[in-house]
């Protein structure tokens, strides 16, 4: 089984801290690796991003690939922050998984700083693992423009609102994959999913990728395998596109 060694773990963690601390920090890095796959996960506050990441990581780990998860949460006005996403990833399967690396970030109020640093952090992390997953609160919470530094962008949607809401939400065009997160408290998930498929799915991006929408239940871990298949499909698509 592939592992992230303790030395790699420590270097990666400290590198990430330095990037966040010093806006213009750079490490002379070896050439860009092609093999690492960067997945971005966005969605509004209560959409269920962190709940979904847990089964998502488990499903991705089945292929014996190393993963670095970078979790971004907003800082409070007083400068402190409660970074709770890591707690959502607590799981007997993941707790001591040596192929998994998790780092939590606070936005530290300076939106631009993290925006400058994030692409560098991601390309730094790419040297250590096979997959980098970046979770960030979507538009409205932070201004991190995540779509520019990821290969595949997954957006988590709570089944709230109707066709108009879907049309209006700004990030929609940018995401490659959508996951409609079903929850007990929402009774109209099925209807919303149908609408989302019409409004968001089956549309073709400029590069020829046809957007996909999936129905998942993050809490009950339903629909995860299908979603992961969808993510892989996008990776394959990107690989085929690249000139060899």
């Amino acid at each position: 089984m592939k592992k992230i060694t303790w030395t790699q773990r420590n270097s990666l963690a400290q590198g990430l801290s330095l990037y966040q601390k010093y806006e213009h920090f750079t490490i002379p890095a070896p050439e860009e690796t092609n093999s690492c796959w960067v997945i971005g996960v966005t969605g509004i506050a209560a959409a269920g991003k962190s709940t979904l990441i847990n089964p998502l990581i488990k499903a991705l780990r089945k292929k014996d690939l190393t993963i670095a998860a970078l979790l971004i949460d907003p800082s409070s006005e007083d400068g402190s922050a409660l970074l709770a996403d890591r707690n959502e990833l607590r799981d007997p399967e993941l707790d001591m998984d040596n192929s998994l690396f998790i780092h939590s970030f606070a936005t530290r109020g300076e939106k631009s700083a993290l925006t400058i640093a994030l692409p560098k952090m991601i390309s730094f992390a790419k040297h250590f693992v096979d997959i980098v997953i970046v979770e960030t609160a979507g538009a409205g919470q932070t201004d991190v423009e995540i779509e520019t530094c990821v290969d595949t962008l997954l957006q988590v949607l709570a089944p709230l609102g109707g066709a108009l809401t879907l049309e209006k939400s700004g990030q929609n065009e940018k995401a490659h994959i959508f996951a409609v997160n079903e929850r007990e408290s929402f009774t109209n998930t099925k209807q919303f999913f149908a609408l989302a498929e019409i409004e968001l799915g089956r549309k073709t991006d400029a590069d020829g990728w046809t957007k996909k929408v999936f129905l998942v239940n993050a809490l009950e871990k339903k629909g995860i395998d299908e979603l992961v298949e969808g993510l892989w499909a996008h990776k394959k698509f990107l690989e085929n596109k690249k000139p060899r």
Binding site: W6, T7, R9, A13, Q14, L82, N87, D91, D95
Partner: protein, 674 residues
Amino acid sequence: MKIIKPGKYPFKAGIYPRMYKDKKPTVRQFAGMGTAKHTNARLKKIDKFGGTGYSIAMDLPTLYGDDSDAPLSRHEVGWDGVAIDTVQDVDDMFDGIAIDQKSVSFTINASAADFMARYISVAEKRGIYPSRLRGTVQNNILGEHYSQNEILFPLEHGVRLSIDLKEFCAKYMPNWYFASYQGYQPRESLCSPAMEIALPFTCAIADAKKLMERGLKFEQFAPRFSFFFDSHNNGMKEIAKYRAARWLWAEITHRLFKMPIPRKYDLKDPKLQSMWCRIHVQTAGCTLQRNRPSNNIVRVSNQVLWAILGGVQSIHANAFDELYCVPTEKGVRIAVDTQLIQQYESGFMDFPDAFGGAHELETETERLYEEAQREVANIENIGGIEEAIKVAYPQKKIHENAVKEIAKLEKWKNEPGKQYFSAKDEGQESELADITKEIEERRGFEKEQLERLRAFKKDRSEIAVQNTLDSVKLAAEKKENLMPILIAAVKTATMGENHGALREVWGGPKAMPLITSRLSREATLKLTGGYKFPRPVRVLIAKGGHDGHTVGFYALQDIFRAMGAEVIHLGLRTTPEIIAKAAAEENVDIVGLSAMVGYAPGFFEDLQKCLVNADKRPPSTKERCPDIEIIGGGIMLPQDEKMIKEKLGIKNIYVPGSSDFSQVIANLKEKFGQ
């Protein structure tokens, strides 16, 4: 005001007409420590002291359904209760004790079904039918979700398991009280007395509905419900509480479950018995004081008297040294004697509901009855206790009241004349000497129990174990009652293996909710002295071991946030290895660990070792980067605190009630700068 005699609906004055003249309250003392053998010896001693029933406490790994050799069980085995891994453990615990002649109470919830399967299996082996067993099992998983967090599965599966056990008992164990609904734990977490009544009642209502869905009639199981309340300091309010509870429960059974108001009182009539709120009381652990522990003897004695005046059916008096984990032998003896003295010398046993009719008591009873009734209605309107737990209603109500109570207590303690509560004196060291000696012995329990477990595992066939666990998994996927499968399974499988199999099918519990601590803003500021970190300091906070008490954990979270830190929340049930991995990945400056039950220096020593192991940086960098600072808190003996500070060199240890938090702040200032 109409005076209602004991034994008459709505049983405000007592459930039996002659009360203690016919049946004295059971003197039920907690026992359970170390391995089955140690507990066996303690049980036999309780007989000798004059106890009339057993109440068995399990250690944390058992309450969480884990085996003693699980990574999380380190430093906890046999610590605050008996360690149960195998059916052999249960058998040895009752060695030489005729279990069909004794009433035994088991305080266990999440893993109750598995444990009872072991008890029933031991009885079978001894040729005793389950129908002849007498006793109580707490078995209220809903209560764990709103108070102690002792949970193993997602809510709905945990409820199913507990209903399976209840249904089994209702059908085959007519002498077994299979549900004791806890108001005690939420009250210890400082909820209001009305909530203390309302929460267990709503749990009982939820269970009753589920059991009726399974085809049972209310009167077939309700006579086996019992309720578990706290006995706090304020006598008048406590007596009123027991009266109000009986009144409200009788009314609920009448209105909601159509039990008729009796015309003739036939004490053997199950419909009449279904209306009785049977009460077990434990004196309030949260009122005990740490300094001058002997003062607690007086306090407990009062609380026992309130319970007697309140007409309860069974009493557990806390030992004066219970704050330091399981009571010592001397502690148990004094606690039993306290109960006996109140029974034989107070004279109140001959006057049921002695103060009934007194204006103040009746008014207070009525007020509490109405308030509790409103709370029950609130929870029922949300959709019952299960739904209420999902939206965190009871958790929030408990929390809100606790914030208020703590602020009140802080003020109270500092009023003139209250020095006795927090002062230390010379006698204290010698008072603690016995406790220290007994606690030292406990450190050997873990090794002994691991040996017992190894011996059991060596003697069985791996294929048999696999087959057994497969059968458990298969049954868990279906809907039928799990008890018969478990009773068969416990002969080969350990407790941890059974629960592991169930978890494979059902999944584990949900992550702990994020709430703020009970500290008010002012209290937090007082602790930090207004200090703020000069840079964004990163802190990882975690709770070690199985224990689910979260008070200290949330307090750490709020204190660090007040200082402007970025707090990474790792949650409950972490091993030192998990903490070290997270600390390395998050590149934190501080690790905050809260450890409550078990051998505290062990937790911190392991953590320190793991942090060093995780730090594989070249030595040159190590010097430049500061080491990770450990900040610890928890309940521990003075010499353990000293050992952690001196031997391990961890300066920042905070023990509520004994150490000074400003020292920790001073250390942080020195390290991180003004």
